[in-house]
């Protein structure tokens, strides 16, 4: 049986824990058991795995950044591996990015988007197309057409921003 933590070395010890009245067993190799005592104290094996990932870097107390919205610090994140708010994602971007890479092997979303964002994207494309048309109109000195296009661009830009602040 492989170690539940590193999934590489054979497990040599088993730790039994009581979670919600249920007995849960965690299998560990000696290295992982020694390296990460926190692993045994916390009770969710998966969160512990995460804790292990985050604990690899020792905290530098001098560059203690804090989220200006929810107040989360890096130390706090290292401890419970939960992000405090959507603003944290931007405040701790440099710290989180390597973690995303480590967990997912990627740092860029390619999946579903809210329909609103598709509308926003559509708007940006629409403006770009109008700008190209405007440039062409100016080049052929069709100022009447250029004026119409300029108004159209303004109208699209003015249309309510749907997303974000």
């Amino acid at each position: 049986m492989l170690c539940d933590h590193c999934r590489q070395r054979p497990a040599t010890m088993v730790i039994s824990q009581q979670i919600d009245g249920k007995q849960v067993k965690v299998y560990l190799c000696e290295t992982c058991a020694n390296e990460n005592e926190a692993y045994m104290i916390q009770n969710n094996p998966f969160e512990q795995f995460m804790g292990g990932v985050f604990n690899q870097k020792k905290p530098h107390s001098k560059d203690q950044i804090k989220c200006n919205n929810c107040g989360m610090t890096i130390d706090e994140f290292r401890k419970n591996s939960k992000i405090g708010c959507s603003n944290c994602y931007y405040v701790f971007e440099g710290y989180l990015s390597p973690i995303f890479k480590q967990i997912h092997g990627s740092t860029r979303h390619t999946g579903k988007r809210p329909i609103k964002y598709n509308a926003e994207l559509l708007k940006i494309n629409q403006i770009n197309n109008l700008k190209i048309a405007l440039q062409e109109a100016i080049e052929v000195e069709n100022y009447e057409q250029a004026a119409i296009l300029r108004d159209e661009i303004k109208a699209v830009q003015k249309s309510e921003r749907i997303v974000g602040d």
Binding site: M1, K82, I83, S106, K112, R113
Partner: protein, 347 residues
């Protein structure tokens, strides 16, 4: 009819169910670990109002359950029926559940994220489950400012969910593979595909009744469809292996296997005291025996073993009995319940 009471014919009953879970948050509120009680209540109101005013009539009629108003037993019973997660039982902040009539769709409000949409289907039906989850997701996105970043995707409380915020899983029954000892080897290899396998209630490595849950671990840089296709193709390979071992059992050890199934049936039909783990193992044998045609029930007395497995879980058993039971009393009630509900066999 609840979703799990429907008939399940796909893949010889090896795939019990398909589940999609979407994690979403509101942009303007702190995530649950940093959410005040006042804001928690506001979040519940915002989300449940969005559902109640949904343009879809069926969705607008979903039932809202205030988690603070129901007993611990009711919560655990819901967890045993896979409606809510284990985390949701230990509510630290005000939380609520929105539930469809057939229990196939649920929205946990203020679990680890503000919104956890869950969609369940019987058998191998992840795409149906996804479509149903998307339906609710789109309704909510239309009305709410959901935390989404164009390059990071859906922003979630745990970095393991960021991106699609989607967890897809199959619940699978692998009794034959488990007895051969091949299973652990197979499950260890699954990590390479960005997948993970857990026991029945999603915690720990011990599986009761040979029931496992296989799900994706990666949510960033992949689409929901890619996740489902990868999960499905690996799961199909596991099913293939399970079928190989099952056929071998029938071909090479038919008598021993027949004996084992009848023995399990005999115990279930006659004992007076039945601990949960033993009951699950025995029922797992019966499920396998029925699927392989070793034993048969009369056509009009078809039995849903998975449903029975859910009914004999501690909290559900107490709800059926309408009273609190200690462990000893539960083991007795469980034996009685199974005796009464296990149909007679025909030769």
């Amino acid at each position: 009819m609840k979703w799990y009471e429907k008939e399940n014919e796909t893949y010889h009953g090896i795939i019990i169910s398909s589940r999609i879970r979407l994690a979403r948050n509101l942009r303007k509120y702190n995530f649950p670990s940093k959410l005040s009680d006042d804001d928690s209540i506001k979040v519940i109101d915002i989300i449940s109002d969005a559902i109640a005013s949904a343009s879809d009539h069926a969705v607008s009629l979903f039932e809202k359950i205030d988690m603070q108003n129901i007993s611990q037993i009711d919560k655990i019973a819901m967890m045993e029926r896979h409606i809510i997660s284990p985390i949701f039982i230990r509510d630290k902040i005000p939380s609520a559940l929105i539930l469809s009539k057939d229990e196939s769709l649920s929205i946990m409000i203020n679990e680890e994220d503000h919104i956890r949409i869950q969609s369940m289907e019987i058998g191998m039906n992840l795409y149906t489950a996804l479509a149903n989850a998307y339906h609710v997701d789109d309704l909510l996105e239309e009305k709410l400012d959901v935390a989404f970043d164009p390059s990071l995707g859906y922003l979630t409380a745990c970095p393991t969910n960021v991106g699609t915020g989607m967890r897809a899983s199959y619940m699978i029954h692998l009794p034959a593979l488990e007895t051969t000892g091949k299973l652990r080897f197979l499950l260890d290899a699954i990590g390479k595909f960005g997948l993970t396998v857990r026991g029945m209630h999603g915690e720990g490595s011990d599986a009761q009744g040979s029931l496992f849950q296989i799900s994706n671990q990666i949510t960033l840089g992949v689409t929901d469809e890619e996740i489902i296709d990868n999960l499905t193709s690996v799961t199909k390979q596991i099913i293939e292996q399970e079928l190989v071992v099952r056929n071998k059992l029938i071909d090479e050890k038919r008598l021993e296997f027949e004996d084992a199934v009848y023995r399990s049936y005999g115990i279930l039909k006659h004992v007076r005291i039945l601990p949960s783990k033993e009951a699950m193992t025995l029922l797992s044998d019966i499920k396998l025996g029925l699927e392989l045609g070793i034993i048969k029930t009369a056509e009009e007395k078809k039995i849903n073993i998975f449903d029975l497995m859910t009914c004999i879980q501690p909290a559900n058993l107490q709800k059926l009995q309408h009273k609190e039971l200690n462990i000893e009393d539960r083991d007795i009630a469980r034996a009685t319940f199974i005796r009464e509900n296990l149909p007679d066999l025909i030769e």
